[in-house]
């Protein structure tokens, strides 16, 4: 029971511990603020700029979610397509990998030229950066299905589509949800990157503005906001994962 309590408390303890060490380090080594502001400085910035942080966070969250949803739909579809057909796999996969090796920062200016700045390029960037892990994981999940399970359906004369729906998709769900947790944080990164290049609002824009002002604590406050949003999003995904793939996590709840 006390063990359980410790575990409940652990995230807070670790976080508080981190902040204490950090604050202490800044004071002991007397880091100038542009190298590493102390948590107290950052906290000051959060309080002072609460309203812009909040408004910009909403904007970033909105674009992130939109991009993420697109990535989920697209990534799942593509992952399934790749797991489905060896021809699609062989043809499309290398292109996709190549595309994914390209830093998205380099793509944003092109998006801006086509769509102007603001929400659209941010959503697209979030999408572009987030869909790849989903594709890879879903494809891996499909590729590692136990043939015995497929046989159950094949023996019924099931079409490939049925096997996909009844075995392929459920069996690769743990992989899929595992990737969602990676994808949501990547989508965040995508939105923010795009905002730093091309937006009038959003955390990325705010951080860049702060940076060109050399308002370092505010930059860090932005990083902070991102971290917190990221954790919240991740937690939602993890909760979803547990709900959807509880069967795969059954070793967690032994009698």
């Amino acid at each position: 029971m006390t063990n359980e309590r410790w575990i409940k408390a652990a995230p807070w303890l670790w976080s508080i511990g981190l902040f204490v060490v950090w604050e202490a380090a800044v004071h002991i080594f007397e880091f100038p603020v542009y190298i590493l502001p102390a948590p107290s400085d950052i906290w000051g910035a959060i309080v002072k700029y609460w309203s812009p942080i909040w408004k910009n966070s909403l904007q970033t969250m909105f674009t992130t979610l939109l991009g993420f949803l697109l990535a989920v739909v697209g990534g799942l579809a593509l992952g399934l397509a790749i797991g489905w057909s060896r021809a699609i796999y062989a043809g499309l996969y290398p292109l996709m990998i190549g595309f994914n090796s390209v830093p998205k920062v380099a793509v944003v200016p092109i998006l801006v030229i086509w769509f102007g700045i603001g929400t659209v390029p941010a959503v697209i960037t979030a999408f572009l950066i987030a869909f790849f892990p989903i594709v890879v994981n879903v494809a891996t999940g499909l590729a590692t299905i136990e043939p015995e399970m497929e046989d159950v359906l094949r023996a019924l004369g099931a079409k490939k589509m049925d096997i996909m729906l009844k075995v392929g998709i459920p069996r690769s769900m743990p992989y899929f949800f595992g990737s969602l947790k990676v994808a949501i944080t990547l989508a965040f990164v995508g939105s923010v990157i795009s905002e730093t290049v091309a937006a009038n609002s959003g955390i990325g824009h705010m951080m860049l503005s702060a940076q060109s002002q050399f308002n370092v604590p505010l930059v860090w406050a932005g990083l902070f906001a991102l971290a917190v949003l990221g954790i919240v999003m991740y937690a939602i995904m993890a909760w979803l994962e547990m709900r959807m793939t509880g069967w795969a996590h059954r070793s967690g709840n032994r009698p």
């Binding site: 019924l156 793939t245 069967w247």
Partner: protein, 263 residues
């Protein structure tokens, strides 16, 4: 007229030609429509392989496989198969697992939505028949080994297949549950007249249920004998204590012993 299930001079090697395992070689067998066939043979002789060939899950290296007078080149859709290893899908409850074939096989597939209730009742009554009443909403990994096997049997039966392929469906059951299920199988077969191929290690089971018992040699497997079992149907369970019955069991026993010794 050829049989409903017809294998001719089949050969199958697993995994590569040179260094693979030759599982079946020169195997032929023919099961008539409505017949109840049993296959017995030593462990590892290729019985499960034979089942997979007949349902088209794997294709023979040489020889032909025909089911319902059509050459089999991919999975057939008229069969219900109970695998040796239950392989239930862990993300579905037992009832959902049992109902899986209904979601695949026509005409149930298109009726499933509209007649959901009737189908669920059917699946539940099957579960009850095998003694799993009330376990439908449990997940398969919450069932004991024997219970999983019984659910597996229900899954093979639920869509009223014309051909039933059973790979040791009663292996994990105690003698009484097993005998109960023999009678369930007997009655179902009498009523629906499907064709059955049953793999078993229990010779009494084979003789009690089957019209014909096929005996396989050790690996590489082929048929070394067929034994007609002529007892009138429906057969009472007491038949298994009669001398004529035990004679057949003993006869088969001797054949398998020879087959193993030959290997």
């Amino acid at each position: 007229m050829t049989g409903f299930v017809e294998l001719r001079d089949v050969r199958l090697t697993y995994g590569g030609k040179a260094d693979g395992t030759l599982a079946l070689d020169g195997l032929s067998m023919s099961v008539k429509k409505g017949e109840f066939a049993a296959v017995v043979g030593p462990s590892g002789c290729g019985k499960s392989t034979l089942m997979k060939l007949a349902t088209g899950l794997i294709n023979p290296q040489s020889g032909t496989v025909e089911v319902a007078n059509k050459e089999v080149s991919g999975p057939v859709s008229i069969a219900g198969m109970a695998f040796q290893n239950p392989s239930m899908l862990p993300w579905r409850t037992t009832l959902e697992n049992v109902m899986l074939p209904l979601e695949i096989v026509q005409p149930h597939r298109s009726r499933l939505k509209s007649e959901k209730k009737a189908y669920i009742e059917k699946a539940e009554s099957l579960l009850e028949l095998v003694g799993l009443k009330g376990f439908g909403d449990k997940f398969p990994w919450q069932l004991s080994g024997g219970m999983q096997q019984r659910a597996n049997l229900c899954r093979a039966l639920v869509h009223d297949p014309a051909l039933l392929m059973l790979d040791e469906p009663f292996g994990a059951l105690d003698a009484f549950t097993r005998e109960e299920l023999w009678q369930v199988m007997r009655d179902l077969h009498g009523e629906k007249q499907f064709t059955v191929v049953l793999v078993t290690h229990d010779l009494r089971e084979a003789v009690y249920l089957a019209d014909r018992v096929f005996v396989m040699s050790a690996r590489p497997g082929k048929m070394i004998n067929e034994r007609h079992v002529e007892f009138a149907r429906p057969r009472p369970i007491d038949l298994t204590y009669e001398a004529a019955f035990n004679d057949i069991v003993h006869e088969l026993r001797g054949q398998i012993a020879d087959a193993r010794a030959a290997a």
